[in-house]
Each structure stands twice: as structure tokens, then as C-alpha cells.
Point group: C2
Chain length 161, copies 2
């Protein structure tokens, strides 16, 4: 195993390359890259996709709750939904509580989510492809465990329910 930890390209020359933080960034960077490749016909970003998915599942959700559900800070999600509204993928309406902006997916948005099912599937497959099937299961299990148990250490913990 240790010969695989020491990578074939010599990327362990620097201590940085073995740093889990560096690998976390690289993994995320690669994930975003594959996502954009597979979904380029739709002109959407990973964050926008996540937001749209939640709004679709919870019609009328407010921005703050949306942010909490996908673990984003309020400012970022504010900008994201404005961009989604500009693209016509969702609408923001004032709720009874005048502080709140309720979010609703548009027909166009729903259609895009349907069309994205295939590309998103490809994205997930390609991202994990370097691992054998058994390894993928183990990796996802460990990744889940890390993310869930470290949730509170995040600047913006994910809050469900």
C-alpha cells in the first residue's frame, strides 16, 4: 500500500502532497471540474445545482433555511439565488413574514433538474471511477463519517430539520 501512497508522479516530494488538507482541496477541485464538464450544456454550477435541488424538494423555503440545509453562509446563498432568479430557474416571493423571501422553482428549473439527472450520474461515476467498486463503498462510508462527525467544526454547520 505504501508504494501507492507514494505516488507514481513523485508528488510526495513535498510534505504538502501528503497533507489531508491539500488532498481535500484537490479532491474538491477535481469534483468541480468533472461536474462542469458533464453539465456544461446546462450552464450551471455545483452550488447552483445544490440550491435548486433543495428548493425543488422544499417549495417556499426561505434563503436562510436553504443555506443551513446545504451548509452555506447566508451571504453566499443570497448571491446564488439571485443568479438563479436572473436565469429564470427560480422565483423569490415575499412571505407573510416580511423579512422572508420564499423560494420557488420555476418550470424551467424543474426541467433543468430532470435533464441533469443523467449528467449528474455520469459525474458521480467518473469522480469515483479510479476506485474499485468495493473501494468506492468504503471511501464513501469513511467520507460520510468524517463530514458528519466534523460537521460542528465547520464555519457553517449543516443543520437539518
Amino acid at each position: 500500500m505504501s508504494d501507492l501512497l507514494a505516488d507514481e508522479k513523485g508528488q510526495d516530494t513535498l510534505p504538502i502532497y501528503g497533507n489531508p488538507g491539500h488532498l481535500a482541496r484537490r479532491f474538491h477541485q477535481i469534483a468541480v471540474s468533472i461536474f462542469l464538464n458533464e453539465t456544461q450544456a446546462f450552464g450551471i454550477t455545483p452550488v447552483q445545482f445544490a440550491a435548486l435541488t433543495v428548493v425543488s424538494a422544499y417549495p417556499g423555503v426561505d434563503q436562510r433555511s436553504l443555506a443551513r440545509m446545504i451548509a452555506f453562509d447566508r451571504s453566499t446563498i443570497g448571491d446564488v439565488v439571485i443568479r438563479l432568479e436572473k436565469k429564470g430557474l427560480l422565483q423569490r416571493r415575499n412571505g407573510k413574514d416580511k423579512r422572508i423571501k420564499c423560494l420557488f422553482i420555476s418550470g424551467e428549473g424543474s426541467a433543468m433538474l430532470e435533464g441533469l439527472a443523467g449528467p449528474i450520474g455520469s459525474f458521480e461515476r467518473i469522480l469515483l471511477e479510479p476506485l474499485a467498486e468495493g473501494e468506492q463503498k468504503i471511501f464513501m462510508y469513511l467520507l460520510h463519517k468524517l463530514v458528519n462527525q466534523n460537521n460542528e467544526l465547520s464555519r457553517v454547520p449543516l443543520e437539518v430539520g
Copy 2:
């Protein structure tokens, strides 16, 4: 295992929560958060730390090579080194090749790297703490494998040597 995949907080209500891309983003987000907590006395970011580490190991390296070594695009690294220069952690000098800016770490920069050794150790420990020791090894092995073999799919592949 499947009961751990379905998380105790009900985070698998949405398909998003099981998406490896979402988990990649969360993992990275958490890593950055822990990094900033542990190193806050130094006022440095993960990217700045990575850049400084490489410049320290390769004195006189140019911006483009630095970017390639830590898998960043040249624009981002340009801004990063300018901020590092403003903080007095490194210097940019013109090389014989007039296109090139050669990077050198300053005494202050070296001192900071030394001081950071402990906090970086804590950071790595905390990030992986939710996993048992054996699990950590397996996780890092699989993460390495994913990142290395998907390297070319990244927008900015890491290039060594």
C-alpha cells in the same frame, strides 16, 4: 455499514447529501475551517501556506511553476504571491528571463513556517480524528488514489518535475 451511511441527523433526506461532490465540498469546507482555527494566530490561509511551503523548498521558483506544483491556475497564484509579498513573507525578483518573477521566502516567512509546524500537525489530527487509526490509513490511501488518477480531469492538473 449502511446505517452509518444514512446519517444520524437525517442528512440523507435529500439525494444531494449522498452525492460525492457535495461531500467533497463539505470535506474541503471543514478542512479550511479547521485550518483557520488552528493557525489563526498566524493570519494565513491554506493556499498561502501551500505556496509558502513550495517557495521555501524551491527558492527562486517562478510563479507559473509554483502554480503547477500545487495545482492552481496562474491568475490565482499571482494574487496569492502578491498578498504574501505585501505581508513580507516572500519577495518577487526579476529573473534573467525577463518574463519571469522569481520567488524567495523571507526570514519572516521561514519563521512563520517553523511556527506553523505544530498547528498544522493539530489541523491534520483534528481533521481525521473521527476515523480510527486504521480507517485513517485506508481513507488517505483511497483519497490519494482518487486525486492522483483523476489528476488529468482537473482544470489545472498538478505537474511535478
